[in-house]
């Protein structure tokens, strides 16, 4: 086994760019992206439509070649890595030949994934069971609903115990039960020897499962947000505060807050530490707190700021 497969950054992008050149104009889909994704990490990628997420994933899989910069996966060029070790990949659009039957599709992909022929059936059965697809056994792919097709797509990505998982909009079309189940599956797949890369529009989902999230817009990584661990506490977020009873005696403490109703306030961006200082001061004055909640998640806040900044920069140019 080659040494670069363990330790250090597993996926490395350095100044990576991808420009589509047409006869009349060129479009830069990805611009100067530098990122490291380590083993043991769940790394998220968020961005608006057309931000460059799918192009970035196609570059990591070697489906596209970068026009600038360098990209290594496990120490190899992307295609070399994929052809030697394989990647568990769920694409945004689950495209499987529509005439294939569910079990046939998974058996075929299992052979391509390098599963030993005498283990193919047991592996397919295990995944069909894990992803609740047993009732669709024997059905053609074209007969499956969007949510079931998404689960088949996820099943084929999990056929082999891959070191790198790339999931593009994995919960698209899933109902709340299976969205929750998906989070559990990602939790089960977390391993110090595996890197998981998830692109999603669903910021709440990324906030829950990713360790770090890169926010991409206009082809550039605008910022990388630490969503787990100590870094999270330093992120400023607006909060909604509801007091139970009289608020006049703490008017001075809430001078910077916007009052939306007699007992309800919107606090401008506060870090977790600042929020706790304020809450302690309110309690010391004998005020009862009925509710406190973030107006939107810290990731959502960061996302809004990053996308606004990127939009302003583009307009300025």
């Amino acid at each position: 086994m080659a040494q670069p497969l363990t330790g250090g950054a597993f996926v490395q992008l350095e100044g990576v760019g991808k420009t589509y050149r047409g006869l009349r104009r060129s479009v830069s889909a990805v611009v100067d992206v530098t990122l490291d994704i380590g083993l043991g990490e769940v790394f998220g990628l968020a961005g608006p439509n057309g931000a460059g997420k799918s192009t970035l994933i196609a570059l990591v899989l070697g489906f596209l070649k970068p026009t600038s910069g360098t990209l290594r996966v496990g120490g190899y060029a992307p295609r070399t890595f994929v052809e030697r070790y394989g990647v568990g990949y769920l694409s945004e659009l689950v495209t499987i030949p529509p005439r294939w039957r569910l079990e046939e599709a998974l058996s075929r992909y299992a052979l391509l994934a390098g599963v030993e022929p005498d283990r193919v059936q047991s592996r397919v059965l295990a995944l069909v069971d894990q992803l609740g697809l047993a009732e669709h056994w024997g059905k053609q792919i074209r007969q499956l609903s969007k949510g079931n097709l998404q689960r088949v797509g996820l099943a084929q990505a999990l056929l082999h115990d891959e070191q790198l998982l790339i999931l593009d909009e994995p919960t698209h079309g899933l109902d709340p039960v299976w969205t929750q189940r998906f989070r559990e599956i990602v939790g089960e797949l977390r391993s110090p020897e595996r890197a998981i890369f998830i692109a999603s529009h669903n910021l709440d989902e990324l906030q829950r499962i990713a360790d770090r999230v890169a926010i991409i817009d206009h082809g550039r990584v605008q910022r990388v947000v630490q969503t787990r661990g100590a870094g999270n506490a330093s992120v400023s977020t607006p909060y909604r505060l509801v007091l139970a009873g009289e608020s006049d005696k703490v008017r001075d403490l809430l001078s910077r807050a916007t009052q939306s109703s007699p007992n309800e306030f919107e606090l401008s961006s506060l870090s977790v530490e600042e929020l706790n200082v304020l809450l302690r001061a309110l309690l010391d004055r004998g005020v009862q707190i009925a509710a406190v909640s973030p107006v939107y998640s810290s990731l959502e806040q960061q996302f809004r700021e990053a996308v606004d900044e990127a939009g302003n920069r583009e307009r300025a140019h």
Binding site: Y20, F63, G86, P97, L112, A113, E193
Partner: protein, 254 residues
């Protein structure tokens, strides 16, 4: 977790690719060839093409049977190869099926070589089936050169079709266009000592195919080794060029 280097089980996957050919392309090939045979033979049997002279299968002259065999073989191999290689690469690119295939530990050249061989095996099976049908209804002709000629013609037409499929999605149309242009080009400028004669040598040597078919049909003597080798080499060169394009070109278009 398995982090050892591994390979797709292409040996096993071959049977799925052959299954696809036998399920989708083979029935269409057989149906069209049977219809073509009926439409060709019926006017001979009912006398509409032979100045009113009617025949039965048993009374058909030997030279007519052999000529029909050679024509059928030519049509079969062009049609079967066209069906077998049409969209072999381009369809996966257009539909996006390539995404799940090539996230697995397999290279596009190996995967499509497997598909090309599986489809070629399918073309051979269909050809042998129709040979048996021919023997049952017309005359038993089982020449030893049948299999090598089918293989050579599959490589010749299929190699060009494969190359075109790596380049763009209108491969079936361009393969037919190339075949027609080659046939016309070779008949008009094949012996031209000038630039036209040189350029025509870049086209597939379609003018050589009939010598192979008539030999297989037993209408001529002496195996046309030159034709067999030239057609095979031309097809193999196109196939290898297609593999090189697959290796160097991005799998995704955007």
């Amino acid at each position: 977790m398995s982090i050892a280097r591994r390979h797709a089980r292409l040996g096993r996957y071959f049977w799925w690719q052959l299954h696809d050919y036998m399920l989708h392309q083979a029935p269409a090939t057989i149906a069209i060839m049977l219809l073509w045979s009926y439409l060709t033979l019926a006017p001979i049997l009912n006398g509409s093409m032979t100045a009113g002279r009617r025949f039965t299968i048993a009374t058909l002259p030997e030279n007519v049977v052999r000529s029909f065999f050679a024509d059928s073989l030519g049509s079969l191999l062009l049609l079967a190869t066209l069906f077998a290689t049409n969209g072999i690469v381009a369809t996966d690119r257009r539909t996006g099926f390539y995404r799940f295939y090539f996230a697995k530990p397999v290279s596009a050249p190996r995967f499509y070589t497997n598909a090309f061989v599986a489809n070629g095996f399918g073309v051979l099976l269909v050809s042998l089936m129709l040979l048996v049908v021919f023997a049952a209804f017309l005359r038993p002709i089982f020449p030893a050169s049948f299999v090598p000629v089918v293989a050579a013609m599959y490589l010749a037409y299929g190699g060009v079709g494969f190359l075109l499929s790596t380049l763009w999605r209108f491969d079936w149309l361009s393969l037919v266009t190339v075949a027609v242009i080659s046939t016309i080009g070779w008949s008009m400028w094949g012996d031209d000592p000038g630039i036209a004669g040189i350029l025509v040598h870049l086209l597939p040597p379609m003018h050589l195919t009939s010598s192979l078919y008539t030999f297989v049909a037993g209408a001529t003597d002496g195996f046309p080794w030159g034709a067999q080798l030239w057609l095979s080499a031309y097809g193999a060169a196109c196939f290898l060029l297609g593999l090189w394009i697959l290796r160097t070109r991005s799998l995704a278009s955007q």
